[in-house]
Amino acid sequence: MTSFRRMNKVLLTDKIKTVGWIISAYIVVILLSLLPDMFNGNFFSKQWSAVLMQYAISWSWLATLLAFIFLTWLSEKVYTSNRYRLIPISDTKLYLSNILSSLIAFILVSLVEVIFVLIFYLFNMKQISTMLSSSFSGVGSRVWLLLLALVLVSLAGILFWWAMISLIHLLTTAISRALPANHQTLYKIIIYIVLIYIAIWMFNKLQAWISQLAYLQYMMYSSSVYTGPMWTALIMFVIAVVISAANIWLLNKEAETKQ
């Protein structure tokens, strides 16, 4: 049998190669954006770290989006490819390893973005501390708790969306298998549209429910600034686990590789 550790190594290698390209492109784009500032001297002033961070943040959305898209594509490929499905490992371990490796690769991209913020922070500690204490007066040292909560929400959100995308993919594969061989592309398009609509509808309902819950927390403890995001993260994580259980069942019983 193939161990979980070996499976992780294999999947992580592929995914790190892909995010490596995205990180390289992200850095190149930031450097190219800096060129005009180098010529007009802005970059060589005291504000160089602010200029650098400005470009890093303005390109970070694209790097994050690309990382999410490519990692989703690589992850979904695992479920329908003989390359991975022939490996002697249980579907549960394969699924968990796939999600874990995607998450690590995604965190890697986020870390590069954080490095630019840290550079700015290191060279502007005093100003940032003053700004934080005035903007978050009353919050004090618990600002880190708030940051942690936001990180947890982001991670739970990513896990939720990956699980949801896999569910749509695997359900489409399973349902189309039961339909006639003719017009398979048409059937798949219709199934995808219906399932995506249901997923978005469910997400909106969920969001409304979570915001109500956060409000309830606020009413009870007047501290929803911390507990609200924590609850959101916990609920999203629990839902991601439930969807993942359905995905593993589909992998085990219904979804097979392309012939």
Partner: protein, 244 residues
């Protein structure tokens, strides 16, 4: 004698079409068996079911008495077309992948096979290989595992006739004496010499399983037997059980 492969009442349906119907097959250890049938007869689906990647197959599939899918995958080496690798993947990376995920993969055996089949450098990319060279790589990767069952699904597609003969003549030396090799191929005359048995699939059913020796004793070639049976039709259950 001990059966390495045992299939009982295996049926498989996909896209509202029956692809395999009540397949019963028993293959003893050490046997090299030819799985014959025309295109679309269900040969690939049968191999995929044995390998554990076709989902929803009914009935019992056992490899060395193991019915669990993960256990079966560990015992079976199936020819993957390598579609899961990008065209830019180097052969060396594919070999590394195999040695990482398959604990029974032998790098030494792979080297011997790749030297014998001579399909170029490890630094070559998958997209640079011709169809024949890619097939040689697939054969090398499949046989480099020390598996109990080798499933070779049309392994000689795109390979020139001289190399095909060379591979066929040497194929038997790459498996252990106890391992089972299942070959499905259109080049029946070329592979006939290495077969101990043939199993013929027609219209989703296994219509015959016969020992090659018995066919030869009747003064027939395997190709004649196959063609004759394909034209004639299904063997009765009694005839099949007599052959087992």
């Amino acid at each position: 004698m001990e059966n390495t492969i045992e299939l009982k009442n295996v049926s498989y349906k996909r896209n509202q079409r029956v692809i395999l119907e009540n397949i019963n097959l028993a293959v003893q250890k050490g046997t090299t068996i030819g799985l014959l049938g025309e295109n679309g007869a269900g040969k690939t689906t049968l191999m995929r079911s044995i390998a554990g990647i076709a989902k929803g197959a009914r009935g019992t599939i056992k490899i060395k008495n193991e019915a669990g899918i993960v256990e079966r995958k560990a015992l079976v080496s199936y020819t993957d077309s390598l579609d899961g690798f990008s065209r830019g993947t180097k052969i060396a990376d594919i070999v590394e992948f195999y040695s990482l995920v398959y604990t029974d993969f032998s790098n030494d055996k792979y080297r011997e096979l790749s030297d014998f089949l001579d399909f170029g450098s490890d630094q070559q990319k998958l997209g640079e290989l011709s169809k024949g060279m890619k097939e040689k790589l697939v054969i090398s990767l499949t046989l480099a595992r020390r598996a109990s069952v080798y499933l070779l699904d049309e392994p000689f597609e795109g390979i020139d006739s001289m190399t095909r003969k060379k591979i066929v003549n040497s194929l038997i030396q790459w498996k252990s004496s106890e391992a089972v090799m299942v070959i499905s191929d259109h080049y029946i005359t070329e592979i006939a010499g290495l077969l101990d048995e043939v199993a013929i699939i027609k219209d989703d059913k296994l219509i015959a399983q016969e020992k090659a020796e018995k066919i030869r004793e009747q003064g027939k070639s395997i190709e004649d037997f196959y063609e004759g049976l394909y034209e004639k039709g299904v063997q009765t259950d009694d005839e099949l059980s007599k052959n087992e």
